[in-house]
Symmetry: C2
Subunit: 202 residues, 2 copies
């Protein structure tokens, strides 16, 4: 299973944003929507071995976490606007514990730390960051959790929580990429390894 946790520091935690303004009033929700696209979409198919956690920390009612489960997803389309509508529907639910808002989409008031704590034992956690070690030489487990930030870095507190749980800090190339592009690159790397039957060099 591949899992991606993306932290949206300004992303709205209530449903009172307009679908015409997802890059503005919704707190750069567009960044997170593109991450959902990159995580799940293949040409005419969806990756069923993938989960995405969007940790929303913006105004309204933080924290909120939306969990997308590839094997259960329906009604997900590649464009930003339609995924924003699914997110808005999820944020209309007021549950503290996780509830399903639509097939394959769950919402809760989990914090970033709560989400990390779901993967305490036996699960490889990878922090994607520009100053990490090159990923093509890194040995990935079959069950792997990638952690990314939105258009801002993780806060020192968030990074501290993450580094307390993993020493795996991985870089995807010599340049600094958008979070959704990182997910695409990781998925491609893992796809190639699956084909080659190896967990390391590609």
């Amino acid at each position: 299973m591949r899992r991606f946790i993306i932290v949206g520091h300004k992303a709205s935690t209530t449903a009172d944003f307009k679908l015409d303004d997802i890059a503005g009033g919704a707190g750069r929700l567009d960044v997170l929507l593109r991450c959902v696209n990159s995580a799940f979409f293949l040409s005419h198919n969806i990756r069923t071995d993938t989960e995405v956690y969007l940790v929303l920390l913006g105004p309204g009612d933080p924290p909120k976490t939306l969990r997308f489960v590839g094997s259960e997803l329906r009604y997900l389309n590649p464009d930003e606007r339609s995924t924003a509508a699914l997110v808005r529907n999820a944020l209309m639910r007021k549950a503290k514990l996780e509830v399903r808002s639509s097939p394959g989409i769950y919402v809760s008031s989990m914090s970033f730390t709560d989400v990390l704590d779901r993967f305490k034992e036996g699960c490889q956690i990878v922090f994607l960051k520009e100053d990490g070690v090159p990923h093509r030489n890194f040995q990935y487990d079959d069950d792997v959790v990638f952690v990314l930030s939105d258009h801002h870095d993780l806060t020192p507190e968030e990074e501290g929580e993450l580094r307390a749980r993993t020493g795996s800090v991985i870089s995807l190339g010599p340049l600094s990429y958008h979070a959704d592009h990182c997910i695409t690159i990781v998925n491609n790397e893992l796809d190639i390894r699956v084909r080659l039957g190896t967990d390391r060099p590609s």
Copy 2:
């Protein structure tokens, strides 16, 4: 210079679409907008060594070609809606020959073949297709033109025009990817090679 040509078979060639309906009434323009994002955006930066050609063949007034020039671009943001607005502005211009509609964006009535003919000599043309040879073993030139299709394959006629100009058919992995994801993967591969100072293995 990296160049990407993407064919949008149903994409609107007039400006009479709504920004709320770019995945519907605009003929899956959303696919092409994400390609623009993948081609140009780095974290807090734009790739100035890149050009994108969107060849629009949908209803209204086909063909139309929009050329995006990285070194001149302004007002480009990562989200689909704002890029759709730039495309719509360009489609309001009625020129047959290429004219500038906004900084770094040019519109003309060039066809797919017209665009290919701009790269007749000395420029490597690469056809990205699932059944090609694996790209990590392929030798790329510094000047390279990648050709991709939208959510549909190239037509037999388009593929014939392309194959008459190149024998380089390249696959990016064992699965079939969206066009914008292909561009992200290619950009990452070329970034890594630039860092390593090689034109081939990465």
